[in-house]
């Protein structure tokens, strides 16, 4: 006997909520990946889907990768993108500009699921989010006590994580120390943070005099939430200042950077812009708008940053 039928809510038609969806024929696998996805706290403007299967990834194409970065190799052509991981056999196929990826994880990759998520699946999510209008930039984000949004860009040893953690110790709001996404917001560009621990090496821990934190053994680092350090989390910022940071031995100081250098540096820290031609125009437009809306500076970080007080607010009042 059929059950009672409810009144169809005409005012609320069926909708698909934006988000990062995970599907798998293996419910346990989906259940294992979902907490990692949820922890990113990303709510993209259009849904993206990871379709995960366990199996043997296909062989690499004969030609060299379009792009390589530590642990990841990317091939792109008109048919779409293919991403692989060097930690264990794993591949993701993204057809055309569709917002779904078919991910094949080997049993060896499943044995290293934490690393697989943090390195490989994050790379897949970055490619998927491009298709939803969010473009990755390798940068840290924060909001200072005056409410100004900061973007800290630089290479892996440029002090981004330590600076982000330092900001939190001074009561700033901090979004991410590494993984951010440019998002159009009317005539401005905002930057969305992927939630994750601010990951400090021992040197950063010592500079901040923080013996506590959560060990991240596979990375050889220690993790902190902004809240652990006296700050709060900022899921999204509107950048007013871009600081291209580097670590120096003298006093902390700031210097000017030209618009041309700013654009070039933003391109440098947004390598994906170059590797998927169909999305390059949108990405480049966001980078140009970002450079146009912000004050840019070179920031050389010195040991005096860690003295009492807020040196950055003194240098950039």
């Amino acid at each position: 006997m059929p059950g009672a039928r409810g009144v169809y809510p005409l005012a609320i038609p069926p909708v698909i909520q934006p988000g990062i969806h995970v599907s798998s024929a293996d419910p346990a696998l989906a259940a294992a990946v979902l907490p990692w996805v949820a922890a990113l706290e990303l709510d993209p403007p259009a849904p993206v889907t990871l379709e995960i299967v366990v199996g043997t990834p296909g062989p690499d194409p004969g030609e060299p990768p379009t792009f390589s970065q530590p642990h990841l190799s990317l091939w792109t052509d008109q048919r779409g993108a293919r991403l692989t991981w060097d930690g264990a056999p794993a591949e993701a196929l993204l057809p055309g500009t569709e917002r779904r990826a078919r991910v094949t994880l080997s049993p060896a990759a499943l044995d290293r699921l934490d690393d697989c998520c943090r390195v490989f699946l994050l790379g897949v999510v970055i490619l998927l989010l491009r298709r939803a209008g969010w473009h990755h930039v390798h940068a840290a984000t924060a909001i200072d006590p005056k409410g100004r949004g900061w973007l800290f860009a630089g290479n892996a040893m440029a002090g981004k994580s330590t600076t982000a953690a330092w900001c939190a110790t001074r009561g700033w709001a901090v979004g991410t120390d590494d993984t951010a996404f440019l998002a159009a917001a009317g005539s401005h560009v905002e930057v969305v943070a992927a939630r994750g621990p601010l990951a400090l090496r021992d040197g950063g821990k010592a500079l901040l005099s923080r013996p506590d934190g959560t060990p991240l053994p596979s990375r050889g680092k220690t993790g902190y939430r902004p809240e652990d350090l006296g700050g709060r989390w900022a899921p999204r910022i509107r950048p007013d200042i871009i600081a291209f940071s580097a670590v120096g031995s003298g006093a902390t100081h700031v210097g000017p950077i030209s618009p041309r250098e700013t654009l070039a540096a933003l391109v440098r820290w947004s390598a994906w812009v170059l590797f998927e031609p169909s999305l390059a125009d949108e990405h480049l437009g966001l980078l140009s708008s970002l450079a146009g809306q912000t004050r840019s500076l070179r920031l050389t970080l010195g040991p005096d940053l860690f003295a009492p007080g807020d040196r950055l607010m003194e240098l950039v009042p």
């Binding site: 379009t66 041309r260 654009l263 391109v267 170059l274 125009d281 480049l284 140009s288």
Partner: protein
Amino acid sequence: MTTTFRRHPDLRLAALDGEGVVLHLGSRKYFTVSETGVAILDLLEQPRALDQLVAGLMERYDVDAAHADQSVRAFLDRCRSAGLILESES
């Protein structure tokens, strides 16, 4: 016989306060570009001969023909070696 120049279709230009960055999506390289370089690349949205580029530069800037010609030739040489422009004879 006249040689005309135009941007490579894989070229993308982002300009800010006159200066800019050029991406070549095929070679996956990028270059910074001065204000006058951006002006020439703007002109190269349409196929142009050398004398048209020189005239276009002289319209935008207070520069004599000899200096503009020298600047355009030098810039085209750099663009040619980077694969940023295409040339055709007509």
